[in-house]
């Protein structure tokens, strides 16, 4: 069996539970998300600054060091120049030795850094060449008087050449490293900024996406509430945020609306009762008139009437009184205040009772009312009074637009393709103008004028049907007439239930 739809209760404690459900979630507020993102951006900026500062200070050291290496190269070149001058012109060799010693001092003072740049091996061979050159230079000085320099000079040239080229290479290498570093120092901020841009974009997209999706959800809520679905909002995300407060406010509003709606339902019912009362009063006048005429004549002719005639007249009075009672009872049943109770119902019975209630209006409007009920209709879930109200309303609406001689046809059938029972109320009236067709279910929309309609009939009716899990819509409206369609979920037919057992 289909489960009964949720009861449309007037006061609902479960909504407080819903708000609890909303609250009982870990919270990641939008504010926090933004704060965290800002913190991240700040850290990134700090990182950029520190890294720039770091690169610049390294560059500073490097440039300082470049001077040292330049000095080193100059000293070596000077040593070689004086060596050559000595050999060519016989100038003093001490100058060459002095420059070489200076170069050696520079090398040993910065050995650590130079080793790092050149590598241990090259540094070692460089120092070796320098030492060997130094040795040869000393030897040259020693052999000055003897003139036996032929063995020394080639070696001196070889070691000197090696020493100079190695130093040149080293300086070149160091310059290259500085150039690379400069290049990097130029590029790093760009990398960081691009990274930051990407991050900001991702963050903005995430945030707007998140906001848009949530806003869309809330728009759907308002639409749903507008259509009369007053079920509370349940948590949609794992974490609560600023929208949770909004959802809580919505739930409070929904509860209030639900309460107001129940009052609206009541006033709408009163309106229907008011309409029906006019017809009932009219209808009551007939049995009252019959009773009054009969009683008067019985009194007037008491002495001349036969017993049979008297009995006949008394019976008439009894029957007419009972007839009055039936008329009043129908209205009382409809007007009786009662809690909404959803239970299995026979739709054809509800519709028949609604038709009986409006019988007087039908008669007054001089309209024909035809019914066409399919056999073996499945049951439905619903509240008897609310449903009667819907159908009374639909029929009265039809009567309002029909000229004398018009026709209303109420048709009930089971939808072949779905488990719905469909009630169609058709009239052959002038139809609803196309430009207002989309608005007829809006609350307070009326074409009847202030005195005749509240504009609540269709909107309240639609709300009632929606609550029962059904649908109500305008199936067709043209110059040849209008059909309103109400579909309600069917309970499985009794025979099906029997066969299951």
């Amino acid at each position: 069996m289909t489960p009964p739809p949720e009861l449309p209760t007037l006061t609902d404690d479960s909504e407080d539970d819903e708000n609890l459900k909303l609250k009982e979630r870990p919270s990641i507020s939008i504010r926090m998300t933004i704060a965290i993102s800002y913190a991240l951006f700040f850290l990134l900026c700090v990182a950029i600054t520190i890294s720039s500062f770091w690169t610049i200070s390294i560059l500073e050291d490097k440039i300082k060091f470049l001077e040292i290496t330049d000095n080193y190269l100059v000293e070596i070149q000077q040593a070689r120049r004086f060596e050559k001058n000595y050999l060519l012109y016989g100038t003093n060799l001490d100058d060459a030795l002095e420059h070489l010693t200076n170069a050696k001092k520079i090398l040993s003072a910065n050995s650590k850094t130079i080793k790092k740049i050149m590598g241990e091996k090259i540094f070692q061979s460089n120092s070796d060449y320098m030492q060997k050159y130094h040795d040869q230079l000393l030897k040259l000085g020693g052999e000055k008087k003897t003139g036996k320099i032929d063995d020394i000079v080639p070696l001196l040239r070889q070691y000197g050449g090696e020493m100079v080229s190695s130093a040149e290479e080293f300086v070149k290498k160091e310059r290259g490293s500085v150039a690379r570093m400069l290049m990097m120092a130029k590029r790093v901020p760009f990398y960081f900024i691009s990274g930051l841009l990407v991050l900001i974009m991702i963050f903005v997209i995430y945030l707007t996406q998140n906001l848009m999706v949530t806003l869309k959800r809330f728009m759907d809520y308002t639409k749903r509430i507008g259509e009369g679905d007053f079920s509370p909002i349940v948590p949609a995300k794992k974490f609560k945020d600023e929208f949770t407060k909004l959802a809580e406010a919505f739930n409070t509003m929904i509860r209030e609306l639900n309460h107001k709606h129940s009052i609206l339902l009541e006033s709408h019912k009163l309106r229907a009762i008011g309409t029906l009362v006019a017809g009932v009063a009219h209808e009551l006048n007939n049995p009252l008139n019959n009773t009054l005429l009969t009683a008067e004549m019985l009194k007037e002719d008491l002495t001349v009437l036969s017993d049979t005639e008297k009995i006949e007249m008394i019976d008439d009075m009894i029957n007419e009184t009972v007839r009055s009672q039936v008329i009043v009872k129908g209205l009382l049943d409809f007007a009786r205040e009662s809690e909404t109770t959803i239970k299995p119902l026979k739709i054809e019975k509800i519709v028949s009772e609604a038709i009986r209630l409006v019988a007087n209006q039908v008669k007054m409007a001089m309209v024909k009312l035809k019914t066409n009920f399919e056999d073996n209709l499945p049951g439905i879930y619903g509240d008897e009074q609310l449903l009667k109200q819907v159908f009374v309303n639909l029929i009265i609406n039809a009567l309002d637009v029909l000229p004398p001689g018009g026709e209303v046809c109420v048709d009930i059938h089971k939808n072949k393709n779905s488990d719905f029972v469909v009630v169609e109320v058709e009239d052959n009236g002038p139809g609803i103008p196309e430009h207002i067709q989309s608005r007829i279910f809006e609350p307070f929309f009326t074409t009847k004028g202030q005195s005749k309609g509240t504009g609540l009939g269709l909107s309240v009716s639609k709300g009632i049907i929606r609550k029962l899990g059904g649908y109500m819509h305008l199936k067709r409206s043209s110059e040849s007439g209008t059909i309103f369609m109400v579909s309600l979920p069917a309970i499985e037919s009794p025979s099906e239930m029997m066969s299951k057992k």
Binding site: A281, H282, E283, N285, N286, L288, N289, N290, T291, L292, L293, T294, E296, M297, E300, D301, D316, E320, K363, M364, M366, P404
Partner: protein, 134 residues
């Protein structure tokens, strides 16, 4: 008493005719009762009644339509309308159109007899209501 007043009484409630026929007979009316307006109109076509009393609200044809029919056929005939309940605009409209009077349900036999007596007066054939007391 001279010639009796010819009255046609039309109401789709059978008890109305059953009770009013003897009540009007007493004041010297000759009453024909109908429940079906179509039949009543057919009868009106055949015979000129002095007074037609008709219910306003009936299924096939309403009292106003019956009145229009009578007015066309027999301009002299007085038409009295029975209504379910008194409605000022209806009363005004009825009077303007030339309906003699109307009477709202529920009414007593005497109320109708008073109106019929006035109609008889207007027709020039007054009736004596004191007859009832006998």
């Amino acid at each position: 008493m001279s010639k009796s007043l010819e009255v046609l009484l039309l109401d789709d409630e059978p008890i109305v005719g059953r009770r009013l026929k003897p009540a009007l007979d007493k004041i010297g009316c000759h009453v024909e009762i109908f429940e079906n307006p179509i039949e009543a109109v057919a009868r009106i076509d055949e015979k000129e009644f002095d007074i037609v009393v008709t219910d306003i609200r009936m299924e096939k044809m309403n009292g106003m339509q019956v009145f229009e029919h009578v007015k066309k056929k027999w301009p002299r005939t007085k038409v009295i309308i029975i209504t379910g309940y008194a409605k000022m605009e209806l009363a005004r409209e009825a009077m303007e159109k030339g309906i003699f009077d109307f009477i709202a349900k529920p009414f007593r036999p005497d109320d109708l007899r008073q109106i019929i007596a006035r109609a008889a007066q207007a027709l020039g054939t007054p009736i004596d209501l004191t007859l009832i007391k006998d």
